[in-house]
């Protein structure tokens, strides 16, 4: 979605045009983080080729780590962007929903025994079931928001509170551990391929959503509902259904992210799996310069926003920031980014850019 380009006014200068671009904020943040790391320690970008303990070739390095660990967040950012755009609200239950869908995957694979030696069901069945379950929970949220007209944050508060207990209940509060290495593929490596699988899965999701937005009217409909619900109804859309649909899509994203999460360790911890990931997903949408009050959205910007968050996390780990100071560092960066992405500030920056340009113009002329 590149509708932000249409805002360009031919009269304004290059700087102003750049500042007004929605992609500017996440890209600038990414660039600043990258530059900072490059100056502090260029070896940050070193990528090495090794073999892991089971003899698979693997690429490792900070960049690979960022792409790998940021996958779940990027996938969630896709769904969260759509929900935000259509409803003008956010789903705060995605972390809990990941616990549920992850728990479902393990339940199907383990059957009644929580420590099976062999898988009790084919993996694709487990994935299918978890997708259905996650979409049902998404549909539940969507129904509350679209048809009962409850504020999204309040509606999803229900699942946010209950989700992790439901996840534990699905597995009788036991801790399933899968010993079959074939399940670890989704969060690890495909034998013989040195790039972590989550990167492929995330890329796949991005391609799918890009195709959907390109070849269907979903993007247009979502935005028109978000901008003006009544006028989109007058134009023949069904706003309630479109809102509902965005939550179901987010449910699907949750199922994919949940699969990666549980596959990483072939197990689950109900209380901490994907903890606080909902806040990061919302932040990714905000960093992408999308209005949290709904309406226009830019999917690419959201996804880049997600990787910015992971880049920041990895950078903080890399520089061994004191544990007690970690939240403060994060907060400072987040405040900076959010302030920069505020329309007022960007307008101001654009104006300054214009002035500078005019001055140089005058000098050249004189």
């Amino acid at each position: 979605m590149t509708q932000s380009k249409e805002i360009k006014k031919p009269s304004s200068g290059l700087a102003a045009r750049i500042f007004r671009q929605q992609m500017f904020i996440p890209l600038a943040a990414l660039f600043l983080l990258a530059l900072f790391n490059f100056i502090m320690d260029p070896s940050f970008y070193r990528i090495s080729f090794d073999y892991n303990s089971v003899g698979n070739p693997v690429l490792s390095g900070n960049i690979i780590s960022i792409l790998d660990a940021g996958s779940e967040l990027a996938i969630l950012a896709i769904g969260m962007t759509l929900v935000t755009a259509a409803t003008g609200g956010q789903d705060i239950s995605v972390g809990a929903a990941i616990a549920i869908s992850g728990s479902v995957v393990l339940r199907v694979l383990c059957g009644t025994n929580s420590r099976p030696d062999t898988l009790q069901a084919p993996i694709f069945v487990a994935i299918l079931v978890s997708c259905v379950v996650a979409m049902l929970f998404g549909a539940f949220n969507g129904m509350l928001v679209a048809y009962f007209r409850i504020q999204p944050m309040v509606a999803t508060l229900i699942l946010f509170t209950a989700g992790r207990s439901i996840a534990a209940w699905i597995n009788n509060n036991e801790l399933p551990i899968i010993s079959d290495p074939s399940f670890g593929v989704f969060g690890g490596f495909i034998p013989g391929i040195p790039i972590p699988t989550p990167i492929f899965i995330a890329a796949g999701c991005m391609i799918v959503i890009a195709l959907v937005l390109r070849f269907t009217n979903l993007g247009l409909y979502v935005q028109s509902v978000g901008i003006n619900e009544s006028s989109s109804r007058l134009n023949g859309l069904n706003p309630a259904f479109i809102k509902f649909l965005t939550f179901v899509v987010l449910g699907l994203c949750v199922a994919v992210a949940g699969l990666i999460k549980v596959s990483r360790f072939s197990s689950i911890n109900y209380s901490v799996v994907a903890k606080d990931i909902e806040m990061d997903a919302i932040l990714a949408v905000a960093l992408g310069g999308n209005a949290l009050s709904g309406g226009k959205f830019n999917m690419k910007a959201s996804i880049i926003g997600a990787y910015v968050i992971q880049f920041l996390a990895t950078t903080l780990y890399k520089f061994k920031v004191q544990s007690t100071a970690l939240p403060a560092y994060k907060a400072v960066v987040v405040i900076l980014l959010v302030v920069l992405s505020a329309p007022k500030v960007r307008e101001y920056l654009a104006r300054i850019g214009k002035q500078i340009r005019q001055k140089t113009h005058v000098k050249e002329a004189g």
């Binding site: 090794d50 073999y51 892991n52 390095g61 660990a69 207990s165 901490v272």
Partner: protein, 336 residues
């Protein structure tokens, strides 16, 4: 047409409702009486305990704790127990008030929060109910409760660090993965390590919080590996984070466990973690004892027989397991 169907439906529900009203008391009265009769006989011998715990789904520790309590406080053991759970103080306080009204003999409490318990415990005292705290202490006057059974997190950390000292490595280069900052477990387990680093001249390659999360721990260890620094000990403050760390090591083909390149230390003694120990993939696991029921049972028996407790604060026995010494029986007995 629609209206007619609706009307018919409503009539039907009303009739059903009436029928239900009519039949319920008739069916219930005899069973109620027999219940009351049965209770009256048994309650004279049974000790009524009200147990307020945290959400059993919170962690493996809590699940084991809840199971242990449920196994102990049964009618066979002479107890009439009612359980309630709350993740927040308010929920727990209102549960406590209800239990006080029910007139229990003992109130067993694992408080969600340390503050805000004075008035409700005062009520309990006035009603002649004795309060026993387990697992978590509270900020209240000690006269308000009979006993407090706790884990000594500092001791847990100390036991682990002492074990590490005994390994006699030529140099100690440690990645220390902390729990959620500010929690009692984190503070206790970190304190011993910080102390040892200062006194023994050990090197902390990285000290970072993983918020009890395997994912974060993996990323922390990964970032150290990516920066090319060497290390030979991973001290993770719970099992999950140790598992995350191990995942990062496996990816980089760094050997770990008994007699290998990196020593792995965890806490909490989850069953699966002890199995890793048994397979010698890890080296050490420190216990955080969730089995408090036996201690509570002892206290109640002492108090019932008119005895007094030597100490108000009772610290549970907790041990650390070494991969070279652990047995199958240990896994069954101590694994949670």
């Amino acid at each position: 047409m629609k209206k007619k169907i609706l009307a018919a439906l409503m009539v039907a529900t009303m009739v059903m409702g009436l029928a239900a009203c009519g039949s319920q008391p008739a069916a219930n009265t005899p069973s109620n009486e027999s219940n009351a009769g049965g209770n009256q006989n048994s309650t004279e011998e049974l000790i009524k305990v009200g147990i307020i715990n945290n959400n059993p789904n919170e962690s493996g520790y809590r699940t084991a704790n809840d199971k242990d309590l449920k196994a102990m406080f049964t009618e066979e053991n002479g107890y009439l127990a009612s359980f309630s759970y709350g993740e927040k103080n308010e929920e727990q306080v209102s549960a406590a008030q209800k239990l006080i009204q029910d007139g229990v003999d003992y109130l067993l409490l694992s408080a969600a929060d340390t503050a805000g318990w004075d008035s409700v415990l005062k009520d309990a005292q006035d009603a002649g109910i004795r309060v026993i705290l387990f697992d978590r202490t509270i900020n209240a006057d000690p006269s308000l409760y009979e006993a407090s059974i706790v884990s000594d997190m500092n001791k847990e950390g100390q036991t682990a660090v002492d074990w590490l000292k005994k390994q006699g490595l030529s140099e100690y280069k440690i990645i220390h993965i902390q729990g959620k900052m500010g929690t009692a477990a984190q503070q206790g387990r970190s304190a011993a390590m910080d102390e040892a680093v200062k006194n023994e001249g050990w090197t902390l390659v990285n000290q970072q919080t993983g918020d009890w999360n395997a994912d974060n721990a993996q990323q922390i260890v990964q970032s150290v590996i990516d920066s090319g620094e060497s290390f030979n000990v991973i001290y993770a403050e719970n099992d999950d984070m140790a598992r995350g760390a191990v995942a990062a090591l496996d990816k980089a083909n760094i050997s770990h466990g008994v007699g290998k390149d990196v020593i792995i230390m965890g806490f909490d003694c989850n069953k699966w973690a002890l199995e890793e120990l048994y397979k010698q993939n890890w080296n050490y696991d420190g216990q955080c004892n969730p089995f408090q029921a036996e201690y509570i049972d002892d206290i109640i028996k002492t108090l019932e027989s008119g005895g007094t407790l030597p100490e108000k604060t009772i610290i549970m026995d907790e041990q650390g397991f070494d991969a070279t010494e652990i047995t199958k029986e240990d896994i069954e007995k101590y694994g949670i």
